[in-house]
Symmetry: C2
Subunit: 219 residues, 2 copies
Amino acid sequence: MISEPQRKNVDQRSQRKQREYEARREEILLAAERMFSQNGFFKTSMAEIAESAQFAMGTVYRFFKSKEEIYISLVEAKVEELLNLLREATKIGPTAPEKLREVIRVKLAFADQNRDFFRIYVSEWSGFEWTVKSAFGDRVWKKYLAQIDLVADLIQAGIKSKEFRKVNPKDTSLALNGMLNSTIYVWILQAGPKESLISKGEWLGALFLDGIGSGTTKT
Amino acid sequence: MISEPQRKNVDQRSQRKQREYEARREEILLAAERMFSQNGFFKTSMAEIAESAQFAMGTVYRFFKSKEEIYISLVEAKVEELLNLLREATKIGPTAPEKLREVIRVKLAFADQNRDFFRIYVSEWSGFEWTVKSAFGDRVWKKYLAQIDLVADLIQAGIKSKEFRKVNPKDTSLALNGMLNSTIYVWILQAGPKESLISKGEWLGALFLDGIGSGTTKT
DNA sequence: AACAAGATAGAATAGCTATTCATTTATCAT
DNA sequence: ATGATAAATGAATAGCTATTCTATCTTGTT
């Protein structure tokens, strides 16, 4: 028989163990993020990840059952994080255009703070190609589409309230996403943090809302 | 001594040889395009390329000195082709907006006709990451930037003529490019050729010129 | 202190693949 | 037809790397 105080101790201990387990796992993910963003998925070896995380290879395999699982975990966590941030963003601001600007700001800010990750995310779509079919990859893909849909809904609402003109919401959301990604990607490639990424948000919003036309040449 | 008629024969023979060489080389590139677009660079083996081209592996190496060279040759040829098409496009149409619409049409048409290739091009930016540093990859990267610059110049001209409002031409060109790429990419992923890609050109042009705003909410 | 039970290590395995090379086959001028 | 040159072949090489496995070490309990 175990006395009550003892059981409590045991519980706390195992809680700590759990926390430590998570912490180690996180370490590995961080190391993997560093390596993947530097060399891409295929040119990063488990040996490198293990070394970068300061674990032996065998240990890494106690946390993840394959290299692919590390990769997908990494991507999934980030995509989910961004999705949640975007959900919040669509709640801020009174008007649809304002919400849209907030979405742009949030995505750029996220890219700014997750530079390494974005190097994978934007540039390694290829990764998805071979992965979309796997169960894990499917989850990531769905979350990506959820991001698109979220903004599509926002656009849809804006159309109803006559704040936006009639467009196909999904196609438009996709186009916005492409605009942002290409901007982010080139910003990332110019290693030197010359210009703030976030500062481009305002004009990207303006571009998307008003186009580049001077207003006199509507054809 | 070789008589004149004989020399002529020799010349013609070697011409034919040259043509046949080119034809074989082309065969290999086509096979590589098929395989790369199906499985990406890393998951495509030389054995597969050789088999798909109906050559032995050793033979493939008579035409290309490495797998990477095949890949880069492929990408470079296509990027150059697109660049030339875009150059032509910027000459068509009287006004800047019209030229811009032509650029959009041309790029979408090119994607439509080079579906397999675009699957590599858009999705495998990762490829560039490891390759940009090599001499070959550098050439590809420069041609990519030349495409961006070409459209940036067009935008610049439109600003001067007051057809466009004042924007940063390069950033704007980049944004347009992203819009197109994301549209193309998703179109490619939906295997079934449900909707014509080219048909999206008109509204993409409209979106880019006029934005999605209803015109009443300029902030 | 001693003993499980769990965690870590990293060497060994197994399998794959880019590239080379010795051989065979085709081409072609004589 | 023949010898020489060029082209094509595909088995062998060499090297890499994801994953496994057993021995070693840590931790926590009695």
